[in-house]
Symmetry: D2
Subunit: 316 residues, 4 copies
Amino acid sequence: MKTIPTEQQILAWFQSLSNWGRWGADDERGTLNLITPAKRLQAASLVREGLVISCGRTIGYEPTVDNVVPARHFMLSSGEGEPAVSVGRTGAADAFLLQPHGVSMTHLDAPSHSHVRSDPSQPWTLYNGKSARAITTAQGATVGSIELAGGGIVSRGVLLDVPRVRGVPWLEGSDPIFPEDLEAAEAAEGVRVEAGDMLFARTGFPRRRAERGPRPPSEGIPALQAACLPWLRERDVAVIGADTGNDVMPAQYPSIGLPVHGVGMGAIGLWILDNPDYEELAETCARLNRWEFQVVIAPLKLSNATSSPVNPLAML
Amino acid sequence: MKTIPTEQQILAWFQSLSNWGRWGADDERGTLNLITPAKRLQAASLVREGLVISCGRTIGYEPTVDNVVPARHFMLSSGEGEPAVSVGRTGAADAFLLQPHGVSMTHLDAPSHSHVRSDPSQPWTLYNGKSARAITTAQGATVGSIELAGGGIVSRGVLLDVPRVRGVPWLEGSDPIFPEDLEAAEAAEGVRVEAGDMLFARTGFPRRRAERGPRPPSEGIPALQAACLPWLRERDVAVIGADTGNDVMPAQYPSIGLPVHGVGMGAIGLWILDNPDYEELAETCARLNRWEFQVVIAPLKLSNATSSPVNPLAML
Amino acid sequence: MKTIPTEQQILAWFQSLSNWGRWGADDERGTLNLITPAKRLQAASLVREGLVISCGRTIGYEPTVDNVVPARHFMLSSGEGEPAVSVGRTGAADAFLLQPHGVSMTHLDAPSHSHVRSDPSQPWTLYNGKSARAITTAQGATVGSIELAGGGIVSRGVLLDVPRVRGVPWLEGSDPIFPEDLEAAEAAEGVRVEAGDMLFARTGFPRRRAERGPRPPSEGIPALQAACLPWLRERDVAVIGADTGNDVMPAQYPSIGLPVHGVGMGAIGLWILDNPDYEELAETCARLNRWEFQVVIAPLKLSNATSSPVNPLAML
Amino acid sequence: MKTIPTEQQILAWFQSLSNWGRWGADDERGTLNLITPAKRLQAASLVREGLVISCGRTIGYEPTVDNVVPARHFMLSSGEGEPAVSVGRTGAADAFLLQPHGVSMTHLDAPSHSHVRSDPSQPWTLYNGKSARAITTAQGATVGSIELAGGGIVSRGVLLDVPRVRGVPWLEGSDPIFPEDLEAAEAAEGVRVEAGDMLFARTGFPRRRAERGPRPPSEGIPALQAACLPWLRERDVAVIGADTGNDVMPAQYPSIGLPVHGVGMGAIGLWILDNPDYEELAETCARLNRWEFQVVIAPLKLSNATSSPVNPLAML
């Protein structure tokens, strides 16, 4: 029943699932175009309890087996020194070195993060045909920067809790989510993902980490099977966010790279939220028996950037 | 009419305006306690057009006269190289060095950012008496970290457009906002700041920069006069954000440091949003003739940190 | 025969081995004062083959079990992009994040790196009584900066090859070097360490790493037993450099910190070279049967710094 | 008399001055091959006073008009906090962000720093034909890394003090040094630059900065006129170091980039020392009336790097 697509099928999807040109020849915003004022009004109407729940992970600074290049934190002043004033106010300040695409930081990918082609004689491009060569070492992402989402992303969010439907606490490493899983969760939750929604697909892997400890990525990370791509395109999802890196690890299609990031970002123009944490949200949804909510993602307005760290918030 | 407080008055406010103990002896969240579920429901109800407007500044990487220590951007991979695959997906990634308390990055201050005392024989403390010595070089902010707001801040926002009331495009350098300005704006806009609100106090200085170019901070930055502090306490504002550094520059009370950051954060437990940009929001509010909206601030969950860069979003 | 000193003996050495005041009340350069022009002439006279050998380790950027916080390398431009000119010259550039006191970077410690006291009622001080509180988060090392050696260190170097004398390829983890080992090496090599010399004490641990791979520091690192301290003081060594971190790991005296760094730097004013690599040098010395040479250490002139990465060179 | 070469002449030098193949088809070390053991013995013999003089600039962390992207310094621990031990030893540590090719840091360029071609139909290459595309964002300089000089550079140095011969304290901005200046200095000093030497060409610009203060690079920086290139090749200089960026600023040949860095590094395989400071050295040479000495340059063994900060030392 659950069909695993071949590499050739995935390569064909670069054309068949494409949104290139759908919002104009110059469009860079892709599926963000699906989020209308009406959608935002619908999202706001889902705030009924006055709750707000973070879906961002804590950013620490110590290396772990699942994050060997963590963020770095530097204090520029502290509370240990002698202030310049004897009374009143003094203070402390800090600086951060952040690498958002790291394996454990919650971040939003910018279009410039994924470069695709299905024909080796063609140049590498971003969504809608922008040249990948415009992402340079010297200038950064001169096209497809995270600034495209700098105005903020606000829409209806839907949590599809796959392990809950399967009756397990979490998906184990490399266990993929298929479209059938998404539809089973829709049925169980009485909800349907619609155009412009943010789809939060839970694997529960952050809970596994909390209970069992970190482990090397080489031991497997669950996420979306490539077979979900036609489904995401058909439903016109605006933002996809499985609570891992969205592509199953180890890479299932090493000779063509990561298919969800490839077909998703490059062909569909889909925005991808990597490494969120839905544990508190899932508990709240289960308690309220309601799986839809207002979501706000506020990327930093980083110039020429392929990513931003984010702290996605769900309001319900 | 507009009374400039003396240093002694400001020092006395550390006691008379204090919220220490108001939410328990161990409280670290201060005025965030004022944001109730009911407040968040009110905020959501203000979304009537389905609009979302960013109040964050763009983060660039070039030094300017008003920001000599800008963020740094490093590309870890780009679109210029030879990918490991011949078709499918490859990509680019980056890293950032961010110093949020810099003079031009939109950021939220954590309680650990301000250390206060009014008696030179006493130790320096944060809000509610936490020891400032717990903010160390080696460990960072072991108390008062930005993680206290990691769950997200969602409330009603009110824009008080001071230059609009005064009939000027922006306030010039060192021109302070007094409580009388705030009340004049309330009257002109037909709105009233209430408990748990986020107060967005517009100076228009970002517009000045856009039209006239950057200039050294030593030439003056408008913000809130310390006289606003009793007003902010009386109204029980949860988050204050003038669209500069909130304290007038050059420092008006150099021998006691920055009074809004001092009395505000240290005594009142007030949360401060520094360096937002309200230009697009102000135009929209004027067009809709509506000055209240839902606001979402989503600080990164940075461990032991005195700050986070943020991109505050207003929905209306 | 090999006597392990007690904590109390080591604490007593802070006075009995002290060089405080020896070169004046304001001196900050400690044992560098022992390197005279005559000493430098002697060093130059040891260049007889015209050879130069590096004693620095390679600086990589990947985390390893023995270096979880490696240096970071960022390309600012590369050879992959499109140059601004069509012929002539273009280029590439980079940036580095370096943490010299890390467990594997060859570096020279500045006096500001070690803060000592033997009486808990006294303040912490550097060598010659400078206050440790002058090393601040905000300003760095306002005393005892690596700039004190910015003029360069050039002297006679002596390699004492301890594993060679013991007939082993390297010392295993936590195996300490005693004064008896140093004297046995002197005897075997026909050389004597004299005032103003740089003493290169070989454990061979870098060879172990090359042959057996990295392992966690918790499994042990060989270095100098504290018993060497009176010997180093008596011989008036100017720079000590065992080819690890100079203090045995795990710490042998955890309640008083690292004794070689403590008594050595704090009382004697000794300069410490951490993490050099003597493998090529040791082979050359054995081949030439000559264990003395000219050494040049050229610390970067980093302002207010507790350290500099270095690449020590031996000429013979 | 002093002839300014045309762009076409400079482009022709890429062939006529080339050392490609001279030390083998695979050679990457270029003019470092000219430094023989005999040369190093000669260098050591020049140490007659036992003096050592640094030719490195101090590295500060504050932006200036001539260095808008300075190094950054972060304290990881300081002397302000509470140590883990009550007596014995504790300490402070730091980290540095360094961008060696910046306008004022003394650094050695690696071959990977300069990419050249004189025919627009040919690929960009380093010295000896290595592909410039091997310097990638993701991996850094996989050829031509500074590690090529990681073994240390030790040779005879010669200071040619051009402003002394001209009777001025320093050369003003954009004032170029011609071969005639070098030969006039040789004559005045009674010295001759020979194969394998390091040529220290003084403009005195650091003295100008010390006396007159920093100024924007756009106002001009003196250095070597391209006309010196045949002379450098004829004399077989191993390392050239004018006390600025070696190429006159503003760029004299903007359509072909920097000629000294281009023809010098790319064709001749010459090693370039940028931004040294010869003020103390020049005074000492004048006092001793001796303009030759031993020089040691000890680049950090930075993997895959286009540069290293250095502190060159002259011994005499």
